[in-house]
């Protein structure tokens, strides 16, 4: 096991890498641990979860709504959970977002631990403290920013992860490479999904590297006033695409990155050969790069985007592979580019 620490203002997040779920009982009084997970993980890892109190919900994005939060809170009250307890989310991004949100509001806040169990959650969703639920078709409209006390990375959860979930997770890894780490981009070009699936040590190092990238960004910008915004690369179009077409998050973000790269070519001197490398890398990792999208529907959703400020969208552009910046683009300008270049 490898342990690192991140300091957010006065709060400390401890990362336990290559750890086993069972160490939870050394980190907190086992009687006061309640795990929030989904029914898939509960079924696949029943024996390992048996030592703890468990609240389990239906797997999938549809559960990421207030009514699920209401039911979890009812169960916490039934268990007589008080402020000395810890909530531990074990699962993918839906679970880490729900567990984080519940821990932020239950009795005005209880301790939180996260055990990300998908690639996506390990390299992205579990890191940085953002949590929340969707409202109707709008993603993450309600939530808070609250850091976990610890993150526990137990790679044995990846053994039961479907290939589509691996693929979806690699979209965020490629995103990190695009905005911050050209050397990682090269590594990904020279390796393959099957390599990472087969080689635990290689995957462990990749996760640690991505955790470090996201953590470095987030720790200096917890409430998203600066660099953290770069993490939205591919998400401005990606979220609407995810909503409209019901794609897995990573697949939608892949398409969003292709579109954002195209806009970067147009208005940010991002070289066409680099855009081609981006498209090739996404393709290599089995992510989609082409979809005939309904631009009017996307524009409609952009108007509800949290990233909007008045009639402008803060849009993340690539300068080159490994380097990104933010530009204010008016909704009108986006509409024009949708009609002319996308």
């Amino acid at each position: 096991m490898k342990v690192t620490e991140t300091i957010f203002d006065d709060r400390k997040v401890i990362n336990y890498f290559d750890a086993d779920l069972s160490i939870l009982s050394e980190l907190h009084d086992p009687e006061k641990i309640v795990i929030i997970t989904d029914k898939n993980i509960e079924r696949l890892h029943a024996e390992r979860l048996a030592a703890f109190k468990v609240i389990s919900i239906h797997a999938g994005e549809k559960s990421k709504v207030q009514s699920t939060v209401d039911r979890i809170i009812d169960q916490l009250l039934e268990m007589d959970a008080d402020k000395s307890w810890i909530i531990v989310g074990v699962g993918g991004g839906v679970i880490t977002d729900l567990a984080g949100y519940v821990s932020a509001i239950y009795k005005r806040g209880v301790k939180l631990g996260l055990v990300p169990a998908t690639v996506l959650a390990m390299v992205d969703a579990a890191i940085g403290g953002k949590n929340g639920v969707n409202v109707g078709i709008y993603k993450n409209m309600v939530g808070t920013t609250k850091q976990a006390a610890f993150l526990l990375f137990d790679f044995s959860f990846l053994e039961t992860l479907p290939r589509q979930e691996w693929i979806s997770g690699f979209a965020e890894i490629i995103k990190h490479a695009c905005i911050k780490d050209a050397a990682l981009f090269n590594e990904l070009e020279n390796s393959s999904l099957d390599n990472y699936i087969a080689d635990k040590a290689l995957m462990s190092a990749l996760v640690a590297r991505n955790v470090a990238i996201k953590t470095d960004i987030v720790v200096n910008d917890e409430f998203e006033t600066g660099d953290r915004y770069l993490l939205n690369f591919g998400h401005t179009f990606g979220h609407p695409i995810e909503n409209i077409y019901g794609l897995p998050h990573g697949n939608a973000i892949s398409l969003g990155m292709v579109l954002a790269g195209r806009i970067s070519e147009e208005i940010n001197n991002f070289y066409s050969d680099q855009q081609e490398r981006l498209v090739a890398l996404l393709t290599k990792y089995e992510l989609p790069v082409k979809l005939k999208v309904d631009h009017a529907a996307i524009l409609q959703l952009l108007k509800k985007d949290k990233k909007r400020s008045g009639s402008d969208i803060n849009f993340v552009l690539l300068n080159e592979i490994g380097k990104a910046s933010v530009a204010k683009i008016s909704l009108k300008n986006i509409e024009d580019m949708q009609n002319q270049i996308l």
Copy 2:
């Protein structure tokens, strides 16, 4: 108008005393202000609210639930409110708690202003950043701690306040005197409710003094690890009494203070003549001091109390008038005292 500032860590809360609601439009872009209020206030102050976007809810504690929060969020989304907007709660404790909570979770947090419109909200509910909603019969089971950007005290709201609401608010004023300010206790003994209702300057000074008492406590203990806990004096029994008998908050707290004073006599050397003064002062301000309560039902609710830690309750006792302390009392011990002395 008198302006003071309070610094919470790195955040600043500005207090505007003797101010008029209309100055809101100088504090924030009027197009991006949305007022949350109740239907009583909307009706009584329609003209003054007309300049702003308003979301109004049914008055009363029954509205302090998640379904109200859900509806407010739907309305904010319909208005296209984004993170550059401010939510301003205009009302009593129910409204300030709801507005605070919504501002903490909508789009992961937007700016908050509070305009407390009852005595209770001015001296207590609006100060300190606690917010939340009830779950079933349990009070404030869900919420956050989030400071407002500003508090605006417009005393003209008190002109339409029913006498029962004045009485209820004075319970918290007497509580402040009990735990922190013996001189205030004397002032209250030598004055009367009618004096404060009739004399705006006197009331303004009383509110400012109580704001200062609560602010001083809270600013050094935002997340209730120390002195802030004293503010729960009278509330450990008061909340269950409020729930079971449906009393106004202040009336229930009055009964809770009498019971806590009685326990203080028994186990904390609180003098009987001081307990008599407490009972006399509450009576003078038309607050109830006697009720044949169902102790078993109260005990049942204490088990769900946020203030519980395992099988102990952190209980606020008086040492003398103007001075309080916290003792851990087991639920068993409380049950014994219920049977023997209360």
